[in-house]
Symmetry: C2
Subunit: 96 residues, 2 copies
């Protein structure tokens, strides 16, 4: 199991329609084969400067790589992630 | 639900007995009331410089605050976390 996550901050104002549209449209990622346990989360710790998190799991590295190059993922990154995300950090976990 | 997590890097060498002892002894945190779904994870993304993650869930803010001041947590932080952890980042999630 690989748990892929990203914490990020949008360029949009908190609570704005643009913010809500981004979160809603990001659900397209759940349509990609291999994506399991997809979660959208609000980052609330004051000890870092990110506002949201996405988390998903893949059965193995092959499923993760297929996701990375899937046209729906590539399109979302190009058309929404790059223009609308201010900063982000990717974290990938495997069991110890 | 609050999912509290921390990504971190130890001062110990990878695979060393000291690293294993730290991970093993950190399981004391699971004895603290309110700690649910505790996980120890290996951080494998090359896009950040952290090696491990701990993740746990609390039913609510009161359970989280009780954990923070619990003597077993305070003792672990003072005696193991501070001297043995090189760098870390805390992330707290709530449902969107």
């Amino acid at each position: 199991m690989i748990r892929h996550s990203v914490i990020f901050t949008l360029k949009h104002a908190t609570g704005s329609p643009e913010e809500q549209a981004f979160l809603r449209d990001a659900l397209v990622l759940t349509e990609i084969p291999g994506v399991e346990n997809f979660e959208q989360l609000r980052q609330v710790s004051k000890k870092n400067d990110y506002h949201f998190g996405f988390s998903m799991e893949f059965a193995d590295q092959a499923a993760y790589e297929a996701y990375n190059v899937h046209p729906k993922h590539v399109k979302f990154v190009e058309e929404r992630w790059v223009p609308e995300v201010e900063r982000f950090l990717e974290i990938d976990y495997e069991p110890v």
